[in-house]
């Protein structure tokens, strides 16, 4: 088995800064093409949305299932992705340094998901007289959900901004033209890199990270319960929001790995991204795949064993009859295939292996969200009393699966395309590989002679 040498960057500080900024400022020829392509996808999505809106309006739930699935997919992947850098920064891992920014950069996608949430507001009924986690508090879930979603998006962008501030400051010094103007406008703090500034920076990252973490879990919980569980009569499933969060964690690592791979392959950051990152990230993916299955199974076994009629119907609807195909695809792509691949160390120690696994997981998450939200929306519509009665007649028959139409496909493509589009725009401005974190890492990693061999020494600040 080939030995993977731990990554040691031998360049000097100035070289690192100059190189990363140069790549960020110029970008390859493919960049423009990619921006145009994904911009067109976004446009396609908007067209799909308009067709659907003209066609169906906002009075009725059912036509919006796929749109909601797209939104939930964004929440699961892009909005959750910053958790990767937050958690890894919390445990002081050194390998995250080149990939922390790639995950935080997903914060900009919050713009898209907030925009997508606006039509959902029109669709969401109030909690009055129906089952909901809000217990008929006035104004819920409308205001509470909107507030949480908007706050999360703002928090994501603030987090990105604060984390990137030292880099933006240095980028400003090297920038010219429009970029300089934008950066002048953005960098409002007079960043000099004094010890005090760094201390404040560290502390605010910690606080923002913790806040983001808590709010993300909250948003997952309320979206999962208000837009899925509360719409299905008789569905009472405490683990479902937790499962939603957990699959978010899995997709967070997966989307970061995919983004990192693209930066490595097409972004020109080959000197700073190494197999270390993929190896370590896939070590996270392995338990996360297992946990995905564990959380799913924990919910499933209780319903399966319980055998109450409503539980049986819900299992048949969401898993075994109506939405069998997306369910199987979800299980295969989120657990079975990734697990079988990522369990091998020789696969984990490559760049391509973890990337393939991460891509599969992203598709798995998409199918899983489609199964959950499309089914919930169609049921809510099918049973008019489901949204108006506290004790609705429990789901007694398995509904027919709702297949996607052309606007649905366009909306899903547009959602994904739009997310990538925003991401691409952001990396033009903010270096997608964190300069200050790499430099900090260079301080903590040394090679030393020890007895007859050379050994790596890693600083572990308390």
């Amino acid at each position: 088995m080939s030995r993977v040498e731990p990554q040691i960057i031998t360049k000097s500080n100035q070289e690192v800064t100059r190189e990363i900024l140069a790549i960020t400022h110029t970008m390859g020829p493919g960049y423009k093409k990619a921006v145009v392509f994904f911009g067109l996808l976004l446009l396609l999505g908007i067209i799909g949305f308009i067709i659907r809106a003209v066609d169906a309006g906002f009075n009725d739930f059912r036509p919006w299932g796929y749109f909601m699935a797209g939104y939930a997919f964004l929440l699961t992947t892009a909005s959750t992705a910053p958790l990767f850098s937050i958690s890894q920064r919390m445990v002081h891992s050194h390998w995250r340094r080149p990939m922390a920014r790639a995950s935080e950069m997903f914060g900009v996608v919050g713009v898209l998901s907030t925009l997508m949430f606006i039509p959902m507001i029109a669709l969401l009924p109030s909690s009055a007289g129906r089952r909901s986690i809000w217990f008929e508090w006035p104004g819920t879930p409308l205001y509470s959900d909107t507030l949480a979603v908007v706050f999360l998006a703002v928090l994501g962008i603030v987090l990105l901004y604060v984390a990137a501030l030292p880099d933006l400051a240095v980028s400003r010094l090297h920038a010219t033209g429009t970029r300089r103007k934008i950066l002048d406008r953005i960098v409002i703090v007079n960043w000099k890199g004094t010890e005090r500034q760094w201390a404040v920076h560290r502390a605010s990252l910690r606080v923002l990270g913790a806040l983001y973490f808590l709010f993300l879990v909250l948003v997952h919980t309320i979206i999962a319960s208000d837009f899925a569980e509360a719409l299905v009569p008789g569905w009472k499933d405490a683990i479902f929001p937790a499962f939603h969060v957990l699959s978010g964690f899995q997709s967070a690592v997966a989307s970061t790995v995919v983004a990192l791979f693209l930066l490595y392959k097409f972004g020109g950051y080959k000197d700073y991204i190494a197999v270390d990152q993929f190896w370590a990230a896939s070590k996270l993916l392995l338990p996360l795949c297992l946990l995905w299955m564990y959380f799913w199974f924990s919910g499933f076994i209780v319903y399966w064993y319980g055998r109450q009629p409503v539980e049986q119907t819900i299992l048949r609807t969401f898993m075994f009859e109506a939405y069998l195909v997306p369910f199987l695809l979800g299980v295969m792509l989120s657990f079975v295939v990734p697990f079988l691949i990522v369990m091998w160390n020789f696969v984990r120690k490559t760049i391509l292996g973890p990337t393939i696994v991460a891509t599969l997981i992203l598709f798995g998450a998409l199918f899983d969200r489609i199964r959950i939200y499309v089914a919930s929306f169609s049921i809510a519509d099918m049973r008019p009393d489901g949204l108006t009665s506290l004790e609705p007649e429990a789901l007694s028959a398995v509904p027919r699966a709702v297949l996607p139409g052309a606007p649905d496909v366009m909306m899903i493509l547009g959602t994904i395309g739009g997310a990538i589009f925003l991401y691409l725009l952001a990396i033009k401005l903010i270096p997608p590989v964190s300069i200050w974190e790499i430099k900090e890492g260079m301080l903590y990693r040394r090679r030393r002679k020890y007895l007859k061999t050379e050994i790596m020494v890693m600083g572990k600040p308390e």
């Binding site: 731990p6 405490a238 937790a242 572990k460 308390e462």
Partner: protein, 464 residues
């Protein structure tokens, strides 16, 4: 600027000897208060055993159980001790795999607490059964006559999971113990030496032996993790699959129980470490840094646990069904459960978690002992508050609703169980080193420093 090849001086024979002396002191120098403590614990244990004997002779009528509260103190205690037993693997395996340096002094104590609390937990179903002398029937015992246990029952999954967990934990401890057994072998004489020699399996510290020991440790760490998760999940399914008890039939139970187990287990290990530190004078090994890190871990675990608790209660109330509302009213607002619930919330989260936010608390042995003991009081009550009110308010046929008062016999058995575990751990410390000697030495060798500007930053060597 040139840094020296190795900044710190590494272990010397003197340091090695000092570590050996310090960490085997519990085995060879026994203060009299140790025997007094063990004697006291043995007495309490004997009292518990006496109570259990009385119960076996007279039947479960001597307990406070009734219809429908068919499960109460013994099952509460069973779940509690299974929970405590999760600490060992949590610390040793996960921290070993994630190469956390600060784990070193804490691992063995955690594993030993695991084993003995598992042993105690195993006795609880026996106490609980109506005819404990027939417990073998839940194993595939009578297959010669084609009489099988019912594999659909979680009570058959339980012994399988716990048995696997106990076996693998013992292996785990043993593999890590072998180099230390060799140290003990070299310091004893006569029959005792023969015993240690047998257990040390000819350990001479050859590179090959070290390599095998290391591989075995890592393999066991990785393999034991799924077992660890499965055990408490299966224990939770003893409850969750019970469709007729609204308070049990909740999908979140498996992860909720597992994370709760880690919460109470790690707390118990912190308490144990602090107590050992005072009994055996391990001030040099169990450092403020060790419990600081454990405190951070606890803060994260406790908050995750609290999230699951919130989900559990939220989705219990969610449907606003009458029987569920009656159950929650009893659990939260009716005397004496209201008091217990208040204590539970404050002791398990409200008091310790905010305290752990402060570095001063995390680094203070006194406060960490207080907060972690508080967690375990809370977590015992948590299991009680899940089990008893749920059964007392089972289903809408309110004619049968009941309540529960523990009898003296039950209380004595529970107390006896606590002292039984404490006694076994203390006796273990008399026979085996409770802090892994070789692990500490390895940590000493790998310890290094790097210089950044004027600062010296602690560092570790990595041989990836």
């Amino acid at each position: 600027m040139h840094e020296p090849a190795v900044l710190r001086r590494h272990t010397t024979p003197e340091i090695d000897r000092r570590i050996n002396d310090d960490l085997t002191s519990s085995m060879f120098k026994t203060p009299s208060r140790y025997w007094m403590l063990v004697g006291f614990l043995a007495l309490v244990t004997a009292m518990g055993a006496g109570a259990a004997g009385y119960m076996f002779v007279n039947g479960l009528g001597v307990t406070g159980l009734n219809r429908p509260v068919m499960w109460a103190f013994f099952i509460t205690n069973f779940v509690f001790w299974i929970g405590i037993s999760h600490a060992g693997v949590m610390l040793s395996a996960i921290l070993r795999l994630s190469q956390a340096e600060w784990r070193r002094p804490a691992t063995r104590a955690a594993e030993v607490v695991t084993i003995f609390s598992l042993l105690l937990a195993l006795t609880m179903p026996l106490m609980h059964m109506g005819r404990p002398w027939r417990f073998l029937w839940i194993f595939p015992w009578d297959f010669a006559r084609s009489i099988w246990p019912n594999v659909r029952s979680p009570l058959v999954w339980d012994p399988a999971a716990i048995g696997t967990y106990l076996t693998s934990s013992i292996l785990f401890v043993y593999v890590a113990l072998i180099p230390d057994l060799a140290v003990a072998r070299d310091r004893t004489k006569g029959i005792v030496k023969a015993g240690y020699s047998l257990l040390a399996m000819g350990w001479r510290g050859y590179p090959m032996q070290w390599r095998l020991q290391m591989i075995a440790g890592i393999l066991l760490s990785a393999l034991i993790l799924p077992v660890f998760v499965s055990v408490h999940s299966i224990v939770s399914w003893d409850f969750a699959v019970t469709q007729s008890v609204e308070g049990f039939h909740s999908t979140i139970f498996a992860p909720y129980f597992v994370i709760g187990a880690v919460h109470s287990g790690v707390s118990a290990v912190v308490t144990a470490l602090i107590i050992f530190r005072y009994i055996f004078h391990w001030e040099r090994y169990i450092l403020p840094k060790t419990i600081d890190n454990l405190g951070r871990l606890l803060l994260v675990v406790a908050t995750a646990w609290f999230f699951f608790l919130a989900l559990e209660i939220l989705f219990g109330l969610y449907a606003r069904e009458n029987s569920e509302l009656a159950l929650r009213t009893l659990q939260i607002f009716r005397w004496p459960y209201s008091l217990l619930f208040l204590i539970f919330i404050i002791a398990a989260y409200g008091f310790p978690a905010p305290m752990w936010l402060f570095k001063g608390v995390r680094r203070s042995f006194f406060w960490m002992a207080i907060t972690t003991i508080s967690v375990n009081i809370g977590m015992w009550l948590e299991r009680f508050l899940i089990i008893v009110p749920s059964l007392a308010r089972k289903q809408a046929l309110s004619f049968n609703w009941s309540t529960y008062h523990p009898s003296v016999i039950e209380i004595l058995i529970i107390i006896g169980g606590f002292s039984f575990v404490a006694m076994l751990v203390l006796l273990f410390a008399k026979v085996f080193p409770l802090i892994p000697i070789y692990d500490i030495k390895e940590g000493e060798i790998l310890k290094d420093e790097i210089i950044i500007g004027k600062k010296r930053i602690p560092a570790v060597m990595r041989e990836e």
